[in-house]
């Protein structure tokens, strides 16, 4: 930061705390972000699969600071009457007070509910997987997958991380062979494990943060950037690039140019993650 007559030489932390948007604008003008990333860069992403042995399928995903763990527990239930062959997939997002100071103990906050609903909506409507593969005996017993996504460290952009964690956990899922006994009790043989689920598509989410005064969109915003602007655009594509879900929140308008720009970045992100997910499964 060159010596600026306006800002005398007190330390940058105080400057950031007193005038955060001014501090942020100075960075954007230099085409760099406070944490050193370029405007379009995504934070380093790492995936670790099968971490939890007590879960039927699990995955841990880190995008920069944001750390999320998805664990899937399988139980048996009666199918719905109108869809006797279909099992259930129940995703939930937990933003517990452990992951950030601004979450309170108690029932899930609005943000957690929005994320859970978005993921549930995408999984249900975009034919990600065929629930009939979870059938044990038609009309009698089906598998119910409780996919619980627990956030360990919240540093912005929770939607990308939780969707990625869910997908990797589903790929890691292994269920015991189950049979329905005449006494209608379901018996499982955990020595014989099967991988029933074939994912038809791999949905990948990319989130952008839109700023009005220095007209710019930042990809993969972290916690401080998220708090500076409420205008978030989330685009969920599958790895082949077909659009599954687009969500734009916040008060300001977003001209078509910016939206196109976001889509191209989203496609690039999707293909990059495609290899990462494949490499993990091997």
């Amino acid at each position: 930061m060159n010596a600026d007559p306006v800002a005398p030489s007190f330390s940058f932390e105080i400057f950031e705390r007193i005038k955060p948007d001014e501090y942020f604008r100075r960075f954007i003008e230099e085409n760099v972000r406070p944490d050193g990333r370029s405007l379009h860069a995504f934070r380093p992403t790492s995936i670790r699969q099968g971490a939890i042995s007590t879960a039927n399928g699990s995955a841990m995903v880190r995008i920069g600071g944001t750390t999320v763990i998805c664990g899937i527990k399988a139980e048996v239930a009666e199918p719905r009457i109108d869809r006797p062959k279909d099992g259930y997939l129940v995703p939930n997002v937990e933003l517990a007070p452990i992951c950030s100071a601004n979450f309170r103990p108690g029932p899930p906050s609005e943000q957690a509910q929005i994320n859970a609903e978005t993921i549930n909506h995408v999984v249900e409507t975009c034919q990600i997987l065929d629930l009939s593969e979870l059938c044990i005996e038609e009309g009698k017993a089906v598998w119910t997958l409780y996919a619980d996504i627990v956030c360990i460290n919240y540093d912005g952009n929770i939607l990308d991380a939780s969707l990625l964690a869910l997908i990797c956990a589903l790929k890691d899922l292994s269920l015991p062979k189950a049979t329905v006994l005449p006494s209608s009790i379901v018996q499982a043989d955990s020595s014989e494990k099967t991988r029933p689920l074939q994912l038809r598509r791999l949905p990948v989410s990319s989130t952008f943060c839109v700023f009005s005064n220095p007209k710019v969109t930042l990809s993969d915003p972290n916690d401080s950037e998220e708090s500076l602007s409420k205008k978030i655009v989330s685009i969920i594509l599958d790895t082949e690039g077909t659009i599954l879900y687009v969500h734009k929140s916040g008060g300001s308008v977003c001209d078509p140019e910016m939206m196109k720009d976001c889509f191209t970045k989203a496609r690039a992100r999707a293909s990059m993650l495609k290899e990462l997910i494949e490499r993990v499964i091997v």
Partner: protein
């Protein structure tokens, strides 16, 4: 019907295991299922400072059990009742997928009790008299539970390291260890399998340099002589765990000032 969460079917049940062969906890040469001797602790991996948002945090693995702990504070108390001393609040949460049988989102009675035990085990070590009108919040999240009493012991040790990592003044670290009484033998640091066939268990939290026991919890039927011997064994195990805790903290110090 939980209005704030995605709900699955009303009733779902765990399938019955087909053939559950009775596993031999101790073989002839007093070796356990995972090859440990009866008084060996599982290898401990501990790292502090993982959660950037928290003032202090620890991630701890022992065997395949995993515990994450975060400390926020000391910060302004919500309803300041003037007692001249700070307040320590603890919350333990078993992740829903952490145990063999799925756990609920809401905190059940056992988690409430473990949270109280965590407060009682840590309070003697924390200098709360220096922090009037402020509260320290400790959140422990169990990602994988391989033996409930050893997970409680791990939560206490991890929380103590997290408190130190948060720079909170403490008289001493609190190390905790647990044992199980199986076929009147004392098994150190029991795993989930061993816990299923235990006659009793004991969890001891101990301050090594002050030589004081801050909490003890035993259930099951034992002769007092065996109980005393078990307490002593737990205390030596605590000193071993204490050394691991100090190396972890010192490591985190010299990495952070580099």
């Amino acid at each position: 019907m939980d209005r704030k969460r995605v709900n699955g079917p009303e009733l779902s049940v765990v399938p019955v295991e087909e053939h559950t062969e009775e596993k031999q906890i101790l073989d002839s040469k007093e070796r356990r299922l995972d090859g440990r001797g009866i008084d060996d602790i599982r290898p401990i991996f501990m790292k502090s400072g993982l959660i950037s948002q928290a003032n202090g945090s620890t991630y701890m693995e022992f065997g395949n059990a995993k515990v994450v702990c975060a400390v926020y504070g000391p910060r302004q108390m919500k309803k300041p009742s003037f007692t001249g001393k700070g307040v320590l609040n603890c919350e333990i949460k078993f992740a829903t997928f952490s145990c063999k049988k799925r756990r609920a989102f809401q905190r059940d009675a056992q988690e409430k009790e473990f949270s109280q035990i965590l407060v009682q085990a840590l309070t003697p070590a924390v200098r709360l008299d220096l922090l009037p009108k402020s509260s320290i919040d400790v959140y422990v999240n169990v990602l994988e539970n391989d033996g409930t009493s050893s997970t409680l012991a791990a939560a206490i040790s991890a929380a103590s390291v997290a408190l130190a990592d948060a720079g909170i003044e403490m008289y001493d670290q609190v190390a905790a260890s647990s044992i199980a009484y199986v076929q009147n033998k004392i098994l150190m640091d029991p795993s989930a399998l061993e816990e299923e066939s235990e006659d009793g268990s004991l969890v001891v939290s101990y301050m090594p340099s002050l030589n004081e026991i801050t909490h003890i919890l035993q259930n099951g039927n034992t002769e007092s002589a065996i109980a005393n011997k078990a307490v002593e064994q737990c205390i030596d195990a605590c000193s071993k765990i204490y050394s691991v805790m100090s190396t972890v903290l010192l490591q985190s110090l010299d990495t952070s000032d580099k």
